[in-house]
């Protein structure tokens, strides 16, 4: 499914705050068609900022960002965003809408027929492992993990070819998380979407990622395939691998 066509392409992209603080510096990488590109990095390294530049929730300060070969500036911003599914880190469900209406919002503003929308909502709930009786509930009546899954379903709703997922499984217990990761992988293999997936969990990165981009203080430190990541000589990557390796060994102690 993966081919080398760049779908999202950063060329020397920087993002600077009005006060001069550099949040992202000279980022250059691309996400290729059908791959899951992991953005890995510690808290505050700029992962969320990078995603928000893609759908122009933030405007880049310099450099160029292309989506499907076209500079993001040249896209109509609404069209660009409808082309890209976005599961935000804080989930951000609409508290005044039921689960079903949350998921159905984009299809409904695109005037899908009602029965098609209903069918799509049911399909997506099943896909993210939620029972359909949840669809008439409000977000405050869900657990944190259920909310996250609704957020993922909402991002997938209008079947966008590109997905931005900002720690979509962060609030889940390890078992549900593993289930969803598996579901997500098989989904991805069927649908062939191009995914930019943010996490700071190396296990998740290795399980899901086609390639892994490591960010540190707004810079790209390494970009490798998931396999190469484990054996990379790059010091920061080694630190990462060690940190996770240690916790793993500790857990295995009797």
């Amino acid at each position: 499914m993966t081919d080398a066509t760049p779908v999202v392409e950063f060329s020397d992209v920087s993002y600077v705050l009005p006060d001069g603080r550099k949040i992202l510096q000279d980022l250059s990488f691309e996400a290729r068609r059908g791959e899951i590109l992991i953005l890995l990095g510690r808290s505050g390294s700029g992962k969320t900022t990078a995603l928000k530049l893609i759908n122009r929730l933030l405007e880049l300060s310099s450099g160029e960002l292309r989506v499907d070969g076209r500079s993001s500036k040249d896209w109509n911003v609404i069209e660009l965003r409808r082309h890209i599914g976005y599961a935000i880190q804080e989930v951000g469900l609409f508290p005044h809408y039921t689960v079903a209406r949350n998921i159905a919002l984009v299809p409904s503003i695109q005037n899908w027929p009602k029965d098609k929308i209903d069918a799509r909502v049911q399909e997506l709930l099943r896909l993210v492992g939620l029972n359909s009786d949840i669809s008439s509930r409000y977000p405050h009546q869900l657990s944190g993990g259920q909310r996250q899954r609704v957020g993922v379903a909402r991002a997938l709703a209008a079947d966008p070819p590109i997905l931005l997922m900002d720690e979509p499984f962060g609030a889940l217990d390890p078992l549900t998380r593993a289930d969803l990761q598996r579901e997500f992988l098989s989904l991805q293999q069927q649908l062939g979407k191009t995914v930019l997936f943010v996490t700071h969990d190396l296990h998740e990165a290795l399980r899901l990622g086609t390639r892994i981009a490591l960010l540190e203080e707004g810079r790209l430190v390494s970009l490798t395939s998931a396999d190469e990541f484990l054996t990379s000589p790059e010091p920061l990557v080694k630190k990462y691998v060690d940190a996770f390796g240690t916790t793993e060994r500790q857990r295995e102690k009797p």
């Binding site: 965003r81 935000i88 951000g92 609409f94």
Partner: protein, 213 residues
């Protein structure tokens, strides 16, 4: 003559003054809503307008009501009838709570919700009426509630310029040094304010969004 016998003997007059009062307050509040909510929305979109607009609304609010009636007197068409003058003055007073609450209501919608909505490709207009206004509704209603209660009280002063309403009884009672007549104007106005307050309070509660999303 005590309060009750005054009220019963003059019930038609009291009723018609009450209706007049309601009319002045109602029209001015509707006008303030029609002008204030869009202005409140506008200053969330053009943040540079926020300070000047709020400052002007604040200044209007500090003008004593009788002085404001006086200032408006030379206005064409408006100045011709006391009732129009009163409606305009009350509208101006009601603007501040409406503009301010609309602004606060919209800007305090959780950033994550707004980011999610924009990220999904909602237009600014869709964001406003599907997300921001519904989530700000309870705060905006609180603004209408404040505006209404203030207007009901202020409208009694409009009688001083001959705009009618329950203030007429109050001023007449003052001139006659008759408490019953004063109360015949003041009590219906107070009841009106209490009713408006609890009705809007109830609406406000109904429109309060559930948190934790």
């Amino acid at each position: 003559m005590n309060f009750w016998s005054f009220i019963t003997q003059n019930r038609y007059e009291v009723a018609s003054l009450t209706l007049e009062h309601l009319w002045i307050v109602g029209i001015s509040t509707v006008l303030a809503v029609v002008v204030g909510i869009p202005l409140g929305v506008l200053i969330t979109r053009k943040r540079s307008l926020h300070k000047p607009v709020i400052a002007i609304a604040n200044i209007i609010q500090t003008i004593p009501s009788l002085a404001l009636f006086g200032f408006l007197l030379p206005a064409p068409w408006i100045g011709e009838r006391a009732e129009r003058l009163a409606i305009l003055a009350l509208t101006l007073y009601a603007l501040l709570p409406l503009i301010r609450n609309t602004y606060v209501g919209i800007t305090s919608v959780d950033r994550a919700i707004v980011d999610a909505a924009r990220g999904m490709g909602l237009t600014d207009w869709q964001l406003l009426y599907k997300v921001e206004l519904p989530l700000a509704a309870s705060v905006i209603l609180a603004g209408i509630r404040v505006a209404l209660v203030i207007s009901i009280g202020l409208a009694t002063i409009a009688a001083a310029i001959g705009a009618g309403g329950l203030g007429e009884l109050i001023f007449r009672g003052l001139a006659m040094v008759n408490n019953s007549v004063i109360l015949a104007g003041a009590i219906p106005a107070a009841v009106m304010a209490l009713l408006a307050d609890s009705l809007l309070g109830w609406l406000e509660k109904r429109f309060t969004p559930q948190r934790a999303a």
